[in-house]
Assembly symmetry: C2
Homo-oligomer: 158 residues x 2
């Protein structure tokens, strides 16, 4: 077993998983905050130079998992690892959000698709040279992925 | 505390952290495998439709952390969360790699910047609509980030 301890808490307008945007593009303009615990705040130095950051967090409301799931954007069962469903063997979430400012250890972010009260595990700077790819294929999502801009979640992974 | 359990093991040509490429662009063409444990293999269905995947793993060789670090690509101390250094409060690694094929639960991947024997925590499909951003600023990395294509790591985070 590997143990992790939250380094902060994510605050958003989403108290419930139902009706949430299912990925950051569907959450365009939606604002939230990331409250980093005091002892970790010196590590935030220089982060304000970055326009976007990667938040890594625990899907704390996800309970158990199934290895075949029906994604929000599909009507067929898919292998869990070919989806971004929150209920996973290790329920680790990953979102790229826009960083507007940092004030006293509180990050003001935008395009947030994360549940209020989510435990934060890590923050990384988003760097196109590291994180972007070209010549992409996206399998079953190829047609569905554009729908993410207006699709909302329901209660299927509660 | 949040507990995670490895779902597989990552195999690469890098037995030691010294001399490794420091991010996937520096590891272009370098091949490795991801061995997913048998009980999780049904979750790999449909993943082969994706050209790129996000590997989430534990930096198992990282010991402790400092909140100010000198990154491989810089000569100044930076806030830890403004870097991708492996020694972090929660040593979680994230790499986008190219997926060439899947055979019997073994993923054959390319552009791998990960240490041999690394415990795998999660696999997610890489989806440009979710994971790519525009109008990016990258702070202290703005000038240095292109250097990643030839820069190698040393032993500073051992």
């Amino acid at each position: 077993m590997i143990e992790f301890e939250p380094i902060g808490i994510i605050r958003s307008p989403f108290a419930e998983s139902e009706g949430m945007p299912i990925q950051p593009p569907g959450a365009a303009g939606i604002k939230g905050t990331v409250e980093v615990f005091e002892k970790y705040r010196p590590g935030l130095k220089d982060l304000d130079g970055f326009s976007h950051i990667i938040l890594i967090y625990a899907f704390h409301k996800a309970k158990g998992f199934k290895l075949k799931v029906m994604p929000f954007m599909d009507s067929k069962h898919r292998g869990l690892f070919a989806t971004r469903a929150p209920a996973r063997p290790n329920p680790i979430g990953l979102s790229v959000v826009k960083l507007n400012k940092i004030n006293d250890g509180v990050l003001h972010v935008e395009n947030i698709d994360i549940l209020d009260g989510t435990p934060l595990l890590d923050i990384k700077p988003y760097v196109p040279e590291f994180d972007e790819q070209t010549q992409i294929r996206t399998g079953w999502l190829e047609k569905a992925r554009r729908a993410v801009f207006h699709k909302k979640s329901d209660d299927r992974f509660k």
